[in-house]
């Protein structure tokens, strides 16, 4: 069954690049892909119960809200708290990473990323 990947990033460039990177695998039915440019919109869909995912990829520096704050809220959702979260960010500070670790983030990926690297990381985290 196709694994559902959700990416939350305010940058249209990142979303477009990630989509491009996963295109082939989506066509092959390996993945399903959804993106959100607004973390608030994403959280709304989570709380109204509709949204489900197998992997969440999240940015940190977003104008509407901080990605780690968003992840913290997702982790309060019973159905989603055990799902892996991959942070995709330019942030590389020890404090940020520590906070991510404490929140239960699975992996920390630094931008810029290549297509291959992204796909590799996703497969690694999902155990494919």
């Amino acid at each position: 069954m196709a694994k559902k990947i959700v990416i939350v990033d305010d940058s249209k460039t990142v979303v477009a690049t990630a989509q491009m990177a996963l295109d082939d695998l989506v066509e092959q039915g390996v993945f399903e892909f959804r993106s959100f440019l607004d973390p608030v919109e994403f959280l709304n869909e989570v709380s109204t119960g509709g949204l489900d995912f197998d992997l969440l990829i999240s940015d940190i520096n977003m104008p509407q809200m901080n990605g780690l704050d968003m992840v913290a809220q997702v982790k309060t959702n019973l159905a989603l708290k055990t799902k892996p979260v991959l942070v995709l960010t330019t942030e590389n500070s020890a404090e940020m990473k520590q906070r991510g670790k404490e929140l239960g983030v699975t992996g920390w990926m630094v931008k810029p990323f290549s297509d291959e690297k992204l796909v590799k990381s996703i497969k690694l985290v999902l155990g494919i």
């Binding site: 460039t13 477009a16 520096n61 104008p63 983030v105 992996g107 920390w108 990926m109 810029p112 290549s114």
Partner: protein, 448 residues
């Protein structure tokens, strides 16, 4: 327009008021001596006074002198039967603007009145929307600005002289404000900084803006200003800062009854509030450090000089240009449009640079523009152009969103949120064309 006729002889008053009946929109008041005239001017908004020179109780010269010192000084025209040049000089010195001799020539008088009407009307409808206001508080300032080019203590002395020894006695706080201006100026001079101070005025305030200062210590200046002028409001930009001095309520209100009401309502800032300001400064500093110097859009815009509207218009213009060029590039694939895009980016960078806070954005865009300009037709082969246009399109969309999030919607919690993303997007574009040997870097993915 309200005209006051002052003459102890009733016939003379009648003559003038009859003449005035022929002029539209004129309300006429009368006084039989200088003392009455003064009372009327204190309690009404009088625009023009025809002041007879020789009168009992209080003569024309004395009355002119007193009425001239009122806040809303009317135009005073001396009227006399005497063709006495000494008296004329005395009246003009006392504050009269003009001099008429009796018997009054009807036509001349009407013409003068019509002139005064024009002048009064233009003062009333004074266009207070000055597009080039230097201060960040209000664009509604008079056209007149006073510029002090500060190069040493003596230049500051001139400013002191102008405002404290000149005719600017407008408010109790004037001396506090000037002291703050002087202290801030001295501090900058001590740090070997030269700058300008531009003073602007509106109906209810004075604005003192320090500009063209390279690298000043914001905290130091803030402390000096609040120490000397605790009740004043100030705003800080990267190369300028400004403070506002509210004019005394006395000047705005001409009616003594209203005066009393207003003075009761003027609250004095309690001492604790002054200390609060200093505490908040410390807190703010601490908070800023914890969140690594984040500035929200709201905070940033408050500090920005008011003339940024034109700059944002230019950014929007450039974004439209980029849209148009992107469309052409997508449909035709001509390299010409890539160069055009690079050129629009250069213009965009100029505006970004003038906002002073966005060096990283400027850097990324400069990198991008430089890279695009070096591309050749061969580079665009193998579908690379498709990847390029896709990323470029999204990059410009991100840039537009960023501009809106800060300047239109003002919702960005950190004005620098796009900095790193933009750098990596630009690097992503370069990676389409530059085959870099992908070294497995452990830094790229860290599993917890």
């Amino acid at each position: 327009m309200t005209v006051l006729i002052v003459d102890d002889v009733i016939d003379n008053r009648i003559t003038l008021s009859l003449l005035l009946e022929d002029v539209s929109d004129v309300a006429v008041l009368e006084a039989s001596n200088g003392h009455e005239a003064l009372e009327i001017c204190k309690n009404n908004l009088v625009d023009v006074v025809f002041m007879d020179v020789m009168m009992p109780v209080m003569d024309g010269v004395e009355a002119t002198r007193l009425i001239s010192s009122l806040p809303k000084k009317p135009i005073i025209i001396a009227v006399s039967a005497l063709n006495d040049s000494d008296k004329k000089r005395e009246m003009l010195k006392a504050g009269a603007q003009d001099y008429l001799t009796k018997p009054i020539n009807d036509k001349l008088f009407i013409a003068r009145i019509k002139n005064y009407k024009k002048i009064i009307a233009s003062l009333f409808e004074r266009d207070l929307k000055n597009e080039w206001a230097v201060n960040p508080f209000s664009r509604k300032v008079y056209a007149k600005k006073i510029l002090f080019r500060i190069t040493n203590e003596s230049s500051l002395g001139e400013l002191w002289e102008t405002f404290l020894l000149g005719n600017y006695d407008v408010t109790d706080n004037m001396s506090d404000c000037i002291r703050a201006v002087y202290s801030a100026g001295s501090l900058l001079l001590k740090n070997h900084l030269l700058f300008d101070i531009i003073v602007e005025e509106s109906d209810d305030s004075f604005y003192f803006t320090f500009t063209r200062i390279e690298n000043y210590n914001r905290d130091q200046i803030y402390k000096v200003i609040t120490k000397n002028f605790p009740t004043g409001e100030s705003k800080f930009g990267s190369m300028a800062f400004s403070m506002v001095l509210e004019k005394s309520k006395r000047l705005i209100v001409s009616n003594s009854k209203e005066e009393k009401m207003v003075s009761e309502n003027i609250a004095t800032i309690p001492k604790e509030a002054v200390e609060d300001i200093e505490l908040k400064q410390e807190e703010a500093k601490f908070l800023r450090e914890t969140v690594s110097d984040k500035i929200s859009a709201q905070e940033f815009l408050l500090q920005l000089e008011s003339s940024y509207f034109d700059k944002i218009e230019t950014l929007v213009e450039k974004e439209d240009e980029l849209d148009a060029s992107m469309f052409e590039l997508e449909t035709s694939g001509h390299i010409e449009f890539i160069y055009r895009i690079a050129s629009s980016i250069e213009d965009y960078i100029l505006v970004i640079d003038s906002l002073y806070e966005f060096e990283k954005i400027s850097f990324s865009l400069r990198m991008l523009s430089g890279f695009l300009q070096k591309l050749t037709n061969e580079d665009l082969a193998d579908k690379k152009i498709d990847k390029l246009t896709l990323i470029l399109k999204n990059l410009f969309a991100d840039l537009t969103d960023w501009r809106r999030n800060i300047f239109s919607f003002k919702i960005a919690q950190d004005i620098h949120y796009l900095d790193s993303s933009l750098i990596s997007s630009c690097m992503q574009i370069e990676s389409i064309f530059v085959a870099t040997v992908q070294v497995e870097s452990e830094d790229d993915l860290e599993l917890f």
